[in-house]
């Protein structure tokens, strides 16, 4: 239940940010709403990856909240006519975003042991390493977004590169032991 709550909380927070966006004109307001929901999802994902280095128990709710916010972000962009299904394949920025969302949703599914058991899915933990791939795709998605602030892009890329570096160093040390 707590997992479902985190998922819905992420989506609800994103929805609140989208609904309260007002930039003076419909075009700018939509852009602001999409930007806010996207950044919420990205920040929650980074928080989840950061927390997983120190306190694994908090990782799951943050990751699920990130997935919820990302799903709302994607749904909002489709509902507002920003995105077409074809563009999810043809447009690099949307392709990255859609792939990252697919990873997050897959991780969401495997967050419930009952789902894992009913699917008879063994060996699912490697899937969770794909969260770093999702993070890299988010950087690509943001880099190609014409409205994302560049300082935000730099901070996001820096944070994810640092987390990945820490993870790799830890892995190498563990292997050496």
């Amino acid at each position: 239940m707590s997992g479902l709550f985190a998922l819905l909380a992420g989506g609800a927070a994103a929805l609140a940010l989208a609904l309260t966006a007002d930039a003076g004109s419909p075009a700018a307001t939509l852009a602001l709403a999409l930007g806010r929901t996207g950044w919420l999802a990205a920040v929650l994902l980074v928080a989840s990856l950061t927390v997983s280095l120190v306190a694994r128990r908090a990782r799951r709710p943050l990751g699920l909240a990130a997935a919820g916010a990302a799903a709302l972000h994607a749904g909002w962009s489709v509902a507002q006519g920003w995105v077409t299904p074809a563009a999810l394949i043809t447009e690099p920025q949307l392709r990255s975003g859609a792939t990252a969302l697919a990873i997050l949703l897959l991780l969401t599914l495997t967050s419930w042991p009952s789902v894992v058991a009913s699917l008879r899915l063994g060996h699912w933990r490697p899937l969770h390493r794909a969260s770093y791939a999702a993070a890299a795709l988010v950087v690509h998605h943001v880099a190609l977004s014409s409205r994302a602030p560049l300082w935000g892009l730099a901070a996001l890329a820096g944070a994810i590169a640092s987390l990945l570096a820490i993870r790799v160093v830890r892995g190498v040390r563990r292997t050496a032991r």
Binding site: G24, S25, A31, R95
Partner: protein
Amino acid sequence: MQASPAQPGRRARHAQAGAVVLAGLLWAFFPIPTFSALIWAYLVVVLALGLARGRGHRWADLALPWPWALGLGLVLSLPAAVYLARTGRRLWANDQLEGLRPVLQDRLRLTRDPQLHPPVLAADRPQVFWIRAAGARAVSVELDGAGFDASRIADGVFRWVWRPGDSVPTSEEVVLRVDGEPSTRALTVVPPRARPTALAADPEGGALAVSEETDELLLIGSVPGVVERITVGDGPLRAARVGDAVVVAHRGEPALWWVEREGPPRRIAVGTGQRDLAVDGDTVWVARTGTAGPGLLALDPGGRRWWPLEAEPERVLARDGQVVVASRVARGLFRVAPEPAPRLALGRPATALAWRGAELVAAVSDLRPEDDAGPNHQVAEQLVRVDVARWRVRGADATAGAGVGQLAAMQGDLLIAFTGSGTLQLAEGRRVASPIPAPDGLVAVAGGRYVVTSAATGQVAWLDREGRALATVALGGEEPPEIELLRAGERAFTEATRSGTSCASCHPGADSDHALHDIGHGVPRPTLSVRGVAGTAPFLRGASYPDLSGLDHFAATILGGYDRALPNRAAALSAYVLSLPLAENPRRLPADVEDTLVPGYRAFQRAGCPACHPPPAFTDLAQIPAQVLFPEQPPGVLLDTPSLLSVSVTAPYLFDGRAPTLASVFEAHDPGERHGAFHRLEPSAQADLLRFLEAL
């Protein structure tokens, strides 16, 4: 398979490495190379292995003795390695990583505060720069050690008017002093280069031309190699002989110059905004534009007369009491005398005009009297014969070359300089290759010779009766490499592809032809001006080109490519386009314009325009779905936010040209108030906003 005696953690890592290898193998069979596809392949492999493992298939552990694992891993990695090597460049391009740098560079430049725009200074003409300096009370600008005050338009928004002085700036940097604090910003200075234009036969036997950037009148002798260069006012546009004198119209000077053999030139005030001149007997006709509206001024011994025109004039031709004006924005002709007549629609601007016998001949890239869009990148260049007395198109003939640069008549024959194909049509239909590239001027001079000029290369050449080259003069002499690059770029811009189309076909003078073109998808789009695009990547209405080199690729493939190899063509073309100043806006420079800018910017802010069109570039370089502004549009069509600088001279407006005027953008084409809050402004503020946009 036999499991290796590894520890659980190590075994998991081995399985992970195996999954990566298998994902790479799967990825190597994806038809379109993208990084996302690699990740999808990884997900598929991991899920498949997980499901197999969950169903008890031990092979899904990928547990092999290490020599086997290593060997098999290397072999299975080979297809992915080959795929990567073969598609590396495409992979980079497909994920838009190739074009990311120029786009991010321009965004980063505009993010910096303070900042000015445009980032290019064409040193031959006055220019307006907008400066954003958040929270600043005063901004001054230093260039080459000289200081200039910028005018305050609103909080943090300033405007600096640069006017050419005696020397050309050499610095590539400008210092913005914000409340005394200096910040250095890059500014590309484009020095003036000699470009002979407006070639005309001189009744005294030679030819007349001007060089607008270097402020020169060129008296070209009929004797090969003789060019007399006389400095005149700012931005000479055309010269014509009146008796013993030569009269010169100027772009940047409020006077005509009367240049005589002896003594200093006389100046006759006619006001700014001159566009062209023609002489018919004693009468000098001056086409003008400006805040008072477009019109035609006639000066003769009896005084002055003024004819208002419906559209901005570009050329005026006068002969035997007949006066015709060509307008690029109206894509047609207007008859002023003997009787004024309404617009004669051509559908595309006349790029060259000449009288021949009783008719006027106009070169048009694709005659479309109904003003329709036409097929994708259609260029069917024609010489349109106009019966001036009856004011109708008599007929049209195909041309024998590409890219008509100039027409001139000679005893019933048409002399044609084909800029695009680099060929000349001389008397009696004789066709020869031009001795100089990109010829855009051709006239007959005394002695049965011809004079050819090329603005792109800055050359003048003389030919004999048979078309054999006699002499060539390069007006620029030995030039530095950066000028040579710009000349190569201008030449590439005008050079026709095998389809007959060049960049200049739809962008005459590197500007817009103000026509609609179907550039794919069956949707007519108005042509964009390519002037003033530096610092505004990505380009085109859909932001489909992150840098300009892609346009050369388009010409080299879709348009059939070029007959002639030009080294560094893409770089030269890109450098040339990025060096162009903004399209000239006659409402931008008058001294009293700043009175309208302050209330205008206030209305601009109140209407919410800066949300997408923020200063200093008046674009956020971002894209927006067309459906957001125009609900009837299909989803997924992205529109690049255009800069509003020079917007008043880029009609028609909006992505499909549906708005003929700036006012109609809001009044007729924004019923849902999606394009800013114009409708919520009171009428006086609406008028202020429109005046502001016109003065940008």
